[in-house]
């Protein structure tokens, strides 16, 4: 005798359950702004081939000092550029792979 009321309740009670009311606020969004330089600025510098091995020459001292200063300045500039590129890329991209 309790079957019929039970059936009725089972169909009527879900109607009393709380229905969420639809609302309009948008989902929260947080976007990271990455100010990455253009890709061509992040290309690793290509080092030219050095002076061929086995050469000898006669170079006066001032010219030698200028060559040494040029070489040191070139290395310093390239190192700085590679650090800058490494800052913007994920890894140490310009480092040649270990032999």
């Amino acid at each position: 005798m309790w079957i019929l009321p039970g059936l009725l309740l089972s169909t009527a009670l879900p109607g009393c359950s709380h229905k969420p009311i639809e609302t309009t606020p948008p989902p929260p969004v947080a976007i990271e702004v990455r100010d990455t330089p253009p890709a061509d600025l992040l290309r690793c510098p290509e080092r030219p081939a050095g002076i061929p091995a086995g050469l000898s020459a006669s170079i006066p001292a001032p010219a030698r000092q200028a060559l040494i200063d040029l070489a040191a300045a070139y290395r310093s500039t390239v190192d700085q550029l590679e650090r800058l590129i490494g800052w913007h890329r994920s890894a140490d991209p310009c480092r040649p792979p270990a032999p």
């Binding site: 000898s56 070489a71 590679e82």
Partner: protein, 155 residues
């Protein structure tokens, strides 16, 4: 004693008038209470309209809606508050993640800078030795090799 008796006698004589007066006072009191409550109710209703309009949902339910007045508005306000909390949490999480990433970048850059500085200092030292070992202006292959290493170039 006689005075009290006199007062009671007077009250008995004018009981109907006094009852009417008391009823009138009670009615005036209730009317005043009711007017105050109605004014407050109207003010709160106006306040609710303003709040709900700010939240983008009217206080009165839409026609044919089964919701009670204010239900939609309440849900909107709750959703807005949740939105603000979630937005603040997301922003803080993002800032924390970016800050951690930046710390990692600083560490990595320090490592690269230290390695480059060590290699450059070693190359400069070798160059100095090679330059000091020269006889006159004649430059030998060892000097050129040191120059290549100083510039970081392969011969």
């Amino acid at each position: 004693m006689r005075f009290v008796k006199h007062i009671l006698q007077l009250l008995g004589l004018h009981r109907s008038w006094l009852t009417l007066l008391a009823l009138g006072a009670a009615a005036a009191f209730f009317w005043w209470e009711f007017a105050t409550m109605r004014a407050e109710r109207d003010r709160y209703r106006q306040w609710a309209d303003v709040v709900c309009a700010s939240a983008g949902s009217p206080f009165a339910p839409a026609p044919k809606s089964k919701l009670k007045p204010g239900d939609q508005c309440k849900a909107e306000v709750a959703a807005l508050a949740r939105f603000r909390t979630d937005q603040a949490r997301l922003t803080v999480e993002l800032l924390a993640r970016v800050s951690r990433e930046r710390d990692g970048k600083i560490d990595r850059d320090l490592a690269i800078a230290a390695r480059s500085a060590r290699a450059a200092a070693q190359a400069a030292q070798d160059m100095e030795k090679a330059n000091a070992a020269l006889q006159g202006d004649h430059v030998d292959p060892a000097w050129f090799a040191a120059l290549n290493r100083l510039a970081g170039l392969q011969p």
